[in-house]
């Protein structure tokens, strides 16, 4: 159970970082909004997948 909690913290930090970086990137290059958003969603989905895998393993 503690492990699951740690994984969720990790996933939260990871997705938070991706979101934050994507925001900065969009602010810097608003014209690349679509591409950045796609890349962000893919990366977030991959991390999320790991998080769920860990949760289901508990």
């Amino acid at each position: 159970m503690v492990g699951a909690g740690l994984v969720v913290i990790g996933v939260g930090l990871g997705i938070g970082r991706i979101g934050g970086s994507a925001m900065e990137a969009i602010a810097r290059q608003p014209e690349a909004y679509g591409k950045i958003q796609t890349a962000m969603l893919i990366a977030a989905a991959l991390i999320e997948g790991i998080g769920f895998a860990a949760l289901f393993a508990v």
């Binding site: 796609t38 969603l41 893919i42 989905a45 997948g49 769920f52 895998a53 289901f56």
Partner: protein
Amino acid sequence: MSEMRKTFFTRFLLIAALFLGQFTFASETKEEANGHGKDLKTEIKEYIAHHLQDAHDFSLFSYTKENGEHKYVGFPLPVILWDNGLKVFSSSKFHHGETLAEIDGNYYKLYHSKIYKTDAEGTIHYDEDHHATNVKPLDFSITKNVVMIIVTGLLMLWLFSSLARSYGKNNGIPTGAGRFFEPIVLYIRDDIARPNIGEKRYRKYMPFLLTIFFFIWFLNIFGLTPLGINVTGNIAITVSLAIMTFLITNFTGTKDYWMHQFDPLGKSLPWYGKIPLYIILVPIELLGLIIKPFSLLIRLYANMQAGHIVLMSLIGLMFIFKSWLGSPLSFGLAFAISLIEVLVALLQAYIFTMLSALYFGFASEEHEHDHEHEAEVAH
């Protein structure tokens, strides 16, 4: 309670009830039934677990009469068993697990949404882990999930074939529902298929990508209606979707794709240099073939399952608090989560399509650098 607060609450409850009709009905039943038997928390847990499972009948809600009789509203579905011969009967014979079904001298019992073969008394035998050890006949029943898959399939067939016809009639100008769906179809083509698969080959993958996107999206949305279905939150269904992606990826794989799998650096590396490659890199690449669709299926399953669990738990809060604070809190949270789930329903369909397109892109890509390497060797 002041008059103002009351109207606010009534309005809020009305809106939320639209979304949560089924859950609340059924939860109320549990509250009433609580008087005799298990404690509330276990019952809420059981109710959530029950909701997440597939069912042999399509029940909309249930309630308990004053004399303690359970009343179910819904309709039974056909049960198809293979047990030394085909056995087809209506699931109404189970009476929601309360009675045994007797077919040709065999007795079947519905236990935790699974059908077991029992003796005439309906005894269930357990092993030490409290799992039933009775014989399970092969179950090909048209369950709730199967019904929803068929309904969604027919809906999509009707919707998109009539859309296609309307385009033919109006010289390619969208009308009606086409105005809603055209941008989505174009988005999948121009922003998912083209950049990921490439201008040359994207066309042959479009039918699959569009089908899988709308199939997952529609089923996710149906999962949020008060019908109480959970199709994309069923691992068997996500497994079959992922297997399709896996098969298409590997059967349309080009020579370069398989070269990349089994011989990553090709002729640019002498044979003795490839030994560590075959010990470490190639097994990882091969494992990746399986992991890619596996992550697809786990992501979709877990997201939908988690969404349903969160929603139902929040509604369960109301019965745990048992004060005037509980209802608005649980309705408010459940309402907000419902709205997020609408977004998640679309997002998961998008991610599944997007990643499938990405994998197809990997498989059908022809590496430029391979030819460069060959050219270098030739020099």
